[in-house]
Symmetry: C2
Subunit: 340 residues, 2 copies
Amino acid sequence: VRAVVRFCLAALPGFALISTGQADYLVREVGSFHIGGQQVVLSGLPEKEMSFTAGMAPVKVDPNGEFEAGQMYVQYVKLVNPKAKYPLLLWHGGGLTGVTWETKPDGKPGWQQFFLSAGYDTYVSDAVERGRASWARYPEIFKTEPVFRTKKEAWEGFRIGPSYETGGKRVAFEDTQFPVEAFDQFAKQAVPRWISNDAPTQAAYDALVQKLCPCVIAVHSQGGNFGFRAALAAPDKVKALVAVEPSGAPDPAQVDLTKLKATPHLFVYGDHIDSSNRWQTYIKATQRYFAAMKESGVNTSWLDLPKEGIKGNTHMLMMDKNSDEIALRIQSWLVEHGSM
Amino acid sequence: VRAVVRFCLAALPGFALISTGQADYLVREVGSFHIGGQQVVLSGLPEKEMSFTAGMAPVKVDPNGEFEAGQMYVQYVKLVNPKAKYPLLLWHGGGLTGVTWETKPDGKPGWQQFFLSAGYDTYVSDAVERGRASWARYPEIFKTEPVFRTKKEAWEGFRIGPSYETGGKRVAFEDTQFPVEAFDQFAKQAVPRWISNDAPTQAAYDALVQKLCPCVIAVHSQGGNFGFRAALAAPDKVKALVAVEPSGAPDPAQVDLTKLKATPHLFVYGDHIDSSNRWQTYIKATQRYFAAMKESGVNTSWLDLPKEGIKGNTHMLMMDKNSDEIALRIQSWLVEHGSM
């Protein structure tokens, strides 16, 4: 695979600027911060008796008081000499965290490492309610119950294979690029999600763009909609948007796409969309958004991997066996669109 | 402060090996993995109707199926040329995540950055149930309800100050080293905790030691007990243990401390313990453990910061204004005990 990647490189524009994700890099700082959210006060809830140490007498716990809620978490790696003009922000999808972009479930380097090696400062975030962003008591603060994605739902919904029998057989697509032996490891990355947190999540992303950008942003799945709206809210600051398998997009009739003339968009989709009712529905929204952007004169590209002869990619294509090959395509597009 | 730190450096052993946390470093890989946990199956729970997109018709969600639960998350930064003989594992305390060791709430570099600059590969983890480790449905999988720490409890319990009035005045100790203006930012790092997950948490930490070590480990607060037990379970692999404000320790009568003869331990405590009933109780357990280790011939040191003339440190001393000064003391002790 490495040899193929190196071969393909020679055919890509901006060759000298493109790394294969194998280079070491000089780091100034690894760090993090929380952004967004606000203080919430709880009162009137009953005290509970709890024993914090096995065998010890229970103590009274008063759940009332002040908390922070609705913030997101952002971790950065700042290079001493970034080759890229702009930092790269990586926004994950629903029921997942920034781990999406880190080492793949099979232990091989993921896209964060790829783009660090390529010379980007990276900012990997955990959206509101997920991972190190933390979550808040429900229904008092978050208004609904959390939802936990089953392995079956991940296997089928992420188009790893056509069927998954709980306690039984997992059937993968014959050409799947997902490392199926690492599927249980991938399932450890799942986090609960809420269906009632879109507003604080968008607000935190918008605040992040104001804090960090100009930047380029790569979004995945549920992150797609947040990314499209963030670009519309701050088109001067988002210098390019890479939408990896976005699961939705704004209604073009309700937004002003002409704002995006200086914000090129790239859509990337994997394989087996035809086998999934869910993805047939999702993709219609993004196809409509893409078409409307084209009409409005926005610089927009659509990378249909199977059409390019790249078969078997799942929804989690940054974890697929050929993830470097796809990252190279994206990096090539970013370079063509002025990121370096 | 930097000038003082540099001045103090000259007086420390192993000077040439000690960094002030300001040096750039050449990185081979930033990455992560999950370890521990297992598959759990839920069945017999009722379906729920939920609307995943505002305004869309609700869909039926079946909560039954297979999940992974009980895993922990570990993120590493591997240097090209680590100066340290062993990697440094950083284990956080209760109701918090690995963010404890990252950038401080006031935006200044924390201990992860300090020890990377000093030449250690670092492994920062989120224990079971917290942050990117994820958490599982309760009471079906996790047996109890989560507990959310109030700001008042953090302020008083972490010895930032003697009193915190909800909706009112926050009184800090006059000499506090905590950057009180960043306290709300610190509160964004809090995550819910369970009181019923000690066993899977210890199992995941023990598995981590088997995977990564030989190593040196720094533990904080609730992490103390997990660290002490991890060292007892694998004394050949834990080359040194730095216990930063541990909140407990095993009963020395129930463990074999003679196993620890090749595992030096350093205890570090901040100020105002006398003002806290809670910490007066906690410290008795660690004092007893320390004394018993001494008697068993274990190489053990106790760094009482106020006795050394370093006043005002809180429980979160890796976030205090003088955190570099304390990191330097720890690094000096590690060097003396063979980490470089």
